[in-house]
């Protein structure tokens, strides 16, 4: 079994980074290796995910449209044959968009105020890591 989870954390735009950094910090504290993608287009996310051989992708969307960007990401993942890497999406995600992107295979959608330990637990679960109680 893998020793630890490697997660790529990318975001869609340059403004309002509080959630991005708070989550980064919490994941690292929980022993997850975070690759900081920064601001990336779906194509760039896919290339980084391949180069870094990550176990899971976290995509924060705020200014962009989830119902456009997520299908694009999944299309690019399929083209590069990495569609088995699980994807989590967080940010400002309208309810209707959430339904759509879950149907497309997004494993989890994180909204503002999701407690950090729950985010960690979800990642552990998705990546098949033991669900020990995580203190954040």
């Amino acid at each position: 079994m893998k020793q630890s989870i490697k997660l790529l954390l990318s975001r869609d735009d340059m403004t309002h980074q509080r959630g991005y950094w708070v989550i980064t910090n919490a994941l690292r504290d929980a022993g997850i290796e975070v690759v900081l993608g920064g601001i990336q287009t779906p194509s760039a996310i896919v290339e980084t995910a391949i180069q870094e051989d990550v176990d899971i992708i976290g995509y924060r969307i705020m200014q962009g449209s989830p119902k456009v960007l997520v299908p694009l990401l999944i299309e690019k993942m399929k083209a590069r044959e990495i569609e088995d890497i699980p994807v989590m999406v967080g940010g400002i995600i309208p309810t209707k968009d959430e339904e759509l992107i879950r149907e497309l295979g997004v494993k989890e959608v994180i909204h503002p105020y999701t407690p950090l330990n729950r985010i960690v637990e979800t990642i552990n679960k998705i990546c098949g890591m033991p669900t020990e109680k995580t203190e954040v």
Binding site: M14, H16, W21, G38, T41, P94, Y113
Partner: protein, 555 residues
């Protein structure tokens, strides 16, 4: 302010009171024993004249419209002029935003702000724009879009704020105004040209100082930094420290402080800590006036006036029980009015879901109108001035902010201390999240007083599914095609030979040592240079006019 005899008597009485009250609180289960503000200031159950015994009325408070402006920048306060009701707008192409502006004007906004005019660096037909074009912001590729945006809008009556710090954006605004027949000498407005050591920022300030004297060209964005997680004291301290550093650079360029500092405006937050926020606005005015008068010898009274645009705090807006956001934001707005800001955006209740609709944006306007016209709150200037509590908070916040400023100054100013500020910001954000996750900080409906049925959310869903108006904004990806059609028309109809020449001249100006970039930028945008073309000229120049946005954004 008080006689010694009185203070001695009061001191004894207060001690007795505090012992009593502490005992009550100690014995009572569930009583609030401790409370600290966002900035770490302990809050007592009661304040008395003892807390303001050292206040010198004329030195520390004075009259509104006079140094140190603690009580307000204008003598008549809101009696002479109410706050500008200025709701940030930006959606779809220039046509959709123009339509929304006209609608907001019909609802009673008194000023305008547009988001999305900060160039992305690429045009709507660029692959990188997919999923963004006209989503949370307007898309403005060229002067053609600016002309559409401002069509039928009286910019003499409604002051416009451009949410951008770019020479390209400003040049388009100038070119648009000229087409409307408004000379630069008379043109009003403001922009988010956040004070920083870049050539672009300083060139804009210098150009406006000489050619567009009524335009507020300098900007202090501490509002988004607060969103990033900092405290009220950091909001004040970092704002003042950043100003000092830029003023020092401009003064070293041989510019008189009175010639530009009066055109710097503050962008501030107003959040949950009600009284600390009120104290913050008062504290900003006092520290600003003292800094310019005492440290820089400013003589123009306008230089000493810290004028503020406020946007209410957004991170506390929730998806659960969404209508609570209306109530939250109304209180935040109330704080800002009690604190004496000049202009305000009250967040809409649906912002955790999507871009505001006509319905939600209208409720933000109405919230301000109710404060301004129904409550009588605006009839007295600085109505909380003299409150033992608010005055004490104002003093303590000033002390804390001063410590922050001194620390930054000792490290060579805010440019050099930028990474330090960034690290401190992240630390505060983590602390805030811990407080929320642990329930120490209550968010009604989210980590406390949760309603499993969430009747409010149900009501919103019913509106969304059955109303004959838009209840939650949905992004239409076809906006991109519409904008590409507009862009294609521009590229086809403009004089491309003339544009090429103008872009060459802009490139030369960017490479020159002592040339302001504004005149050549204005000429090039008049030839309908697009934002993508502008970005390529800037990238091709030898000299860097700005750092990347990533490096510069503190939020």
């Amino acid at each position: 302010m008080y006689k010694k005899e009185f203070l001695d008597k009061l001191s004894k009485a207060t001690q007795k009171y505090e012992e009593e009250v502490n005992q009550i609180l100690e014995e009572l289960p569930g009583a609030e024993k401790e409370r600290i503000t966002s900035s770490g200031i302990p809050v007592k159950p009661l304040y008395t004249p003892l807390d303001v015994k050292d206040t010198d009325y004329f030195k520390d408070l004075g009259f509104p419209g006079e140094h140190p402006f603690t009580r307000g920048v204008y003598p008549g306060g809101y009696r002479s002029r109410k706050t500008n009701i200025r709701q940030i707008t930006g959606l779809g192409t220039a046509e959709e935003t123009n339509e929304r502006w006209k609608w907001l004007i019909s609802q009673g906004v008194t000023a305008l702000a547009v988001i999305g005019v900060q160039p992305w660096g690429y045009d709507a037909d660029d692959e990188r724009a997919i999923g963004f074009t006209g989503k949370d912001e307007i898309v403005c590729d060229s002067l053609y879009d600016y002309e559409t945006l401002f069509d039928g809008i009286d910019i003499g009556k409604f002051s416009v704020h451009l949410i951008a710090g770019s020479a390209f954006t400003l040049a388009n605004y100038f070119a648009m105004a000229e087409k409307k027949g408004i000379p630069l000498k008379e043109l009003k407005g403001s922009m988010s040209n956040t004070l920083k050591p870049s050539k672009q920022c300083l060139d804009i300030i210098e150009f406006c100082m000489k050619n567009v004297p009524n335009f507020n060209a300098g900007y202090l964005d501490v509002r988004n930094t607060r969103e990033g997680g900092c405290t009220a004291a950091q909001e004040v301290g970092w704002g003042i420290a950043m100003t000092k550093t830029v003023v020092d650079v401009l003064v070293s360029r041989g510019i008189d402080v009175d010639d530009f500092a009066s055109r710097i405006t503050w962008f501030v937050n107003s959040g949950p800590d009600f009284f600390e926020e009120i104290a913050k606005f008062r504290c900003i005015r006092r520290m600003w006036s003292r800094m310019f008068r005492d440290d820089y010898g400013a003589k123009n009274p306008r230089t000493l006036q810290a004028r503020m645009h406020c946007q209410t705090y957004a991170p506390s807006l929730t998806r659960a029980q969404p209508f609570n956001n209306l109530i939250r934001s109304a209180y935040y707005g109330l704080s800002a009015i009690l604190g004496g800001v000049q202009s305000m955006h009250i967040n809409s209740f649906d912002e955790p879901f999507a871009t505001p609709t006509e319905l939600s944006a209208s409720l933000s306007v109405k919230t301000q109108q109710i404060i301004n016209f129904e409550t009588g709150i605006t009839s007295v200037v600085d109505p909380l001035g003299g409150s033992y509590y608010v005055e004490s908070l104002t003093d303590q916040l000033e002390e804390k902010a001063q410590e922050i400023i001194d620390d930054i100054e000792s490290r060579g100013g805010s440019f050099k201390a930028f990474d330090l500020m960034k690290n401190q910001l992240r630390k505060e954000a983590i602390q805030l999240q811990d407080n929320i996750d642990s329930g120490k900080m209550v968010i009604v409906g989210t980590n406390e007083f949760v309603d499993e049925q969430d009747i409010q959310l149900k009501a919103l869903e019913i509106l969304q599914n059955s109303a004959d108006f838009e209840a939650i904004k949905e992004y239409d990806p076809a906006i991109r095609d519409k904008q590409i059609a507009r862009l294609t028309k521009v590229r086809k109809e403009r004089d491309n030979a003339k544009l090429e020449k103008a872009m060459k001249e802009l490139s030369d100006a960017l490479n020159a040592d002592d040339e302001n970039i504004m005149p050549a930028t204005i000429e090039a945008v008049k030839c309908y240079m697009t934002q993508g073309e502008y970005a390529r000229v800037v990238a091709g120049a030898n000299k860097q006019i700005t750092k990347t946005d990533e490096e510069e954004f503190l939020g």
